[in-house]
Amino acid sequence: MAPFLDYLIYQLSEAGTVAATVASTLSRRFNYDERSAYLFLMPVMAVLVLVAVFPIFYSLYLSFFDLKLTRPHRVPFVWFDNYLTLFADELFWGSVLRTVYFTLISVTAITVLGLLIALLLNETFRGRRFISAMLLVPWAIPYVANALMWKWIYDSGYGALNGALLQMGFIDKYMVWLGDADKTIPLIANAFIWKEVPLAAILLLVTLKSIPDDLYRAAKVDGATLMRRFIHITLPSLRPGFALVFIFETMIAIRHFDLFFILTEGGPADTSHVLAWEIYVETFRNLSFGTGAALAYIMAIVTFFLAYSIIRTVGKRL
C-alpha cells in the first residue's frame, strides 16, 4: 500500500508542477480580461468539442473500419475500402444522380418562387401584412408533419390531390402519384419546395428592402423601363440574398431525409433512393457504421465544395 501512496503523491506533485507552469505561462501571455473571457467560453467550447468536434473526427476514424454492429467481434481496419466499395456501387451513383436531380429542381423552384413572392411583398398593398404572416405557416410546420400531410394529399386511393383534380375535371379517374416512378422525385420536391419557399422569400425580401430607392428614381429619370430596372438594379442588388438562398437551400436539399422516409422509403424500386436515404439504410437498417460514416463523409465533402463554389461564383462581389 505504502509504495502506491508514494507513487500517487509523486504523480500529484508532478501534475501540480505542470499546472503551475501552465498557469504562469497563461498569465504572462493573456491579461486578466482575456483570461476571464476564455474562462467563460470554456464550458461552451468543451460542450462543442464533445458533441460536434469529437463526433466529426470519430466518424472519420470509423469510416476506415468494417464496423457492423451486428458483428461486434470482427471489426477489421480496411483503410479506404469502404469508400472504394461505394464508388464501385451502381446504387451509390444512382443515389448521387437522384440527389442532384432533386436538389436542382428544388433549389431552382425555391429561388424563382421565393423571388416572385418577395417582389410581391415588396410592394405596398392592402393585406400585405396578413399575406406575409400566412406565408410563414408552411415554414413553421415541422418536416415530419409536412411529410404526413403530403402523404395524405398524394395518396392514390383517397388523396386530396386526386379528389381536387377529379372535381375540377382535369382527370377522369384517380391517378397514381408517388407510385409512378416518373413522378416520384418531382412530387417529393414539390413538398420540399412548399416548405422552403417562405424562408427564401423572406431572405430575398430583406435584401430587396435594402436597395436604395434613389437608384430606382435615378433610373426612372433616365427613362429605364420596369424590366430594365429589374434587370440592371434589382437582380444585381439581390446577389447577397441569392447567395444565401442558394447555399442554404442546396445544403438542406442535398441532406434532406424526412420526406423520403415518410413518403416513399426510397421507393418505388430505387426511384427515390437518394444519398441521405442511403446513409440511413446503411447505418441504421444494415447497422454498417463504417460504410455509413464513409457515405456521410462523402456527402459532407460534396456539400462543402458546393457551398464553396457557390460563394466563389454568386457571392464573388458581395
Binding site: L69, G157, G179, P268, A269, D270
Partner: protein, 443 residues
C-alpha cells in the same frame, strides 16, 4: 454529544471511524446492490399491451418472489434501441425478439439458446411447428412464443354475391377470374388489394404469395432459389405483374400502398379481396372501423399450380440475453420469467390468452384453440376452424439470415422494379438471387 465527549473521542479517531464506517457502508451497499441486481430480472419489450404486461409482471413477482424491471420502447425504434443497449452492455435478461432478427442477434452473441431448460422445452409439444422453427437458428432454440400470426386471404362476401360468384376462390387462377368478373360488373376497379410498399410488411406479403404458389426463397443448401422457374419466387412475381398490367385487377398504386393504407382501403369497400395479416379480421368486421363489417370472410390462401394453401407465419418471442445466460442463477430466474410469459403461468397459457382476448394478437400454442373463451372471441368475427387450419399451414420465412436486412433492401426494390415494368420478373429475381449468394459468401 457534549463538547467534552467530542474532545475525548478525538478528531483523528472521529475521522478514522467515520471513514471506516463510510467504507463499510459503501461496501455493504455495493454488495447489497449486487445481490439485489442478481434477483432483479431486467425485461425489455416494445410498447405493446403495456398494461397487460405490467399486470402479468406483478403476478410473477408475487408468485415467484423475484423483482422484474420492465421497460418498453416504441416498435419503430425497438431494433436500433436494443442493438445499442446490447452493444453498450445495458442490464438485460429477457427481451422480446422478432424472428427476423434472430440470426443476427444470435451471431452477434447477444442472445443465447434456451434449449438447455427442460421446463421451457416441454412447451414445444403444444406449439405450432412454424413457431418453434421460427425461434430456431442453427439447430438451437432461442425462446418461447410471445405472439404469432400469419398472412391471410380475405374477401368481401357481399361483393362476390353481387357479381354472381357462388364460392370464393381456391386457386390464384380462380382469383384472377373472379376479379375480372367483379371488375366487369363495375363493382370494383381493382378487386384485389395488395400492399407492396417498401416497409417491413413487404416480405410477409411476398412470402405468402411465394409459398402458396409452391415456391421458396432458398434451396436446401441455403443458396438463393428466388429465380428458379419451378420452385422459386418467379411464379408469384409474374402473377403480380400480370395482375397489375395484363388483367388490371390490382392497382398500379400497390407499390406505394402500405399495409395500413391497404387495410383502410379494403375496410372502405374499395376492393373485393385482400391479403392481410389474420389479426386484421377483428378490425374488418368491426362496424365502428369498417364499412364492410359483417361481410369479411377468411379462406385458405389460394394455391398456385403445384402449390398449396401454405402461407407465411411470423413470430415474436421471449429471448434470453447472453449476460443472463452466463450466470446460472440469473439464467434460472430469467427462464422462470420466460416460462411465465411464453409458457404456462399457474398451469394456464394466461399471457397468450389475455393477449388474444384483449388485443386480438395471435397465439402459437395449439391447445388455446380448444379454449371456449378463445373460440367465442374468434367466432364473433371469423371462423375459428379456418384460422386453425390456415395456421397449421403457415411456414417460417426461409430467407431470415444474418444478411436478411441487407438482402431485403435489394429484394423489395427488385420486386417493385418488375411491377413498375422497369425490369422483367426474371431479371429482377436474377439480381435478387445474385445479391443473396454474394451476401451469403461474405457472411
Amino acid at each position: 454529544m457534549t463538547k467534552d465527549a467530542i474532545t475525548k473521542f478525538g478528531r483523528r479517531k472521529f475521522l478514522k471511524y467515520s471513514g471506516a464506517a463510510g467504507v463499510a457502508g459503501s461496501l455493504s451497499g455495493g454488495l447489497a446492490g449486487q445481490v439485489m441486481a442478481a434477483e432483479t430480472i431486467h425485461f425489455s419489450a416494445w410498447s405493446a399491451a403495456v398494461d397487460l404486461v405490467k399486470s402479468h409482471v406483478n403476478a410473477f413477482q408475487k408468485s415467484k418472489g423475484l423483482n422484474v424491471n420492465y421497460s418498453n420502447f416504441p416498435w419503430a425504434q425497438y431494433r436500433e434501441t436494443m442493438v445499442t443497449r446490447l452493444v453498450g452492455g445495458a442490464p438485460l435478461d429477457m427481451m422480446w425478439v422478432s424472428d427476423a432478427w434472430l440470426p443476427e442477434w444470435a451471431e452477434a452473441g447477444w442472445i443465447k439458446p434456451v434449449d438447455g431448460f427442460k421446463d421451457l422445452m416441454k412447451y414445444n409439444a403444444e406449439a405450432e411447428k412454424f413457431c418453434t422453427d421460427s425461434m430456431t437458428y442453427n439447430g438451437r432454440q432461442y425462446g418461447l412464443t410471445y405472439y404469432t400470426d400469419f398472412m391471410g386471404f380475405m374477401y368481401d362476401a357481399d361483393k362476390l354475391k353481387k357479381a354472381g360468384i357462388s364460392s370464393p376462390p381456391k386457386t390464384w387462377d380462380d382469383v384472377t377470374q373472379q376479379c375480372l368478373k367483379i371488375k366487369e360488373a363495375g363493382i370494383s376497379e381493382y378487386p384485389l388489394m395488395l400492399a407492396l410498399a417498401k416497409e417491413s410488411w413487404l416480405i410477409e406479403f411476398m412470402a405468402a404469395m411465394v409459398y402458396s404458389q409452391g415456391g421458396r426463397f432458398t434451396d436446401d443448401k441455403g443458396m438463393g432459389a428466388m429465380d428458379s422457374a419451378s420452385e422459386g419466387a418467379l411464379k408469384a412475381l409474374q402473377w403480380v405483374v400480370d395482375a397489375v398490367h395484363k388483367h388490371k385487377i390490382v392497382s398500379p398504386a400497390c407499390v406505394e400502398t402500405g399495409e395500413l393504407t391497404g387495410l383502410k382501403a379494403f375496410a372502405s369497400g374499395n376492393h373485393a379481396f385482400a391479403l392481410e395479416p389474420k389479426y386484421r379480421m377483428r378490425h374488418l368486421n368491426d362496424p365502428k372501423q369498417s364499412k364492410i363489417a359483417g361481410n369479411v370472410k377468411q379462406i385458405l390462401m389460394p394455391k398456385g399450380d403445384g402449390g398449396s394453401h401454405a402461407t407465411v407465419g411470423w413470430m415474436r418471442f421471449h429471448g434470453m440475453s447472453a449476460a443472463a445466460a452466463a450466470d446460472k442463477r440469473r439464467a434460472a430466474n430469467t427462464a422462470k420469467l420466460i416460462e411465465w410469459f411464453g409458457g404456462k403461468a399457474d398451469g394456464e397459457y394466461k399471457f397468450q390468452k389475455y393477449l388474444f382476448t384483449d388485443i386480438g394478437a395471435g397465439f402459437g400454442v395449439k391447445p388455446l384453440f380448444n379454449d371456449l373463451d378463445v373460440q367465442k372471441a374468434y367466432n364473433s368475427y371469423t371462423d375459428v376452424n379456418v384460422i386453425k387450419k390456415q395456421q397449421a399451414l403457415a411456414r417460417k420465412k426461409d430467407m431470415v439470415t444474418p444478411w436478411f436486412g441487407e438482402w431485403q433492401e435489394v429484394n423489395g426494390s427488385a420486386w417493385q422494379s418488375a411491377i413498375l415494368q422497369k425490369a422483367s420478373p426474371q431479371e429482377a429475381l436474377k439480381k435478387v438471387t445474385n445479391t443473396w449468394n454474394k451476401l451469403k459468401k461474405q457472411a
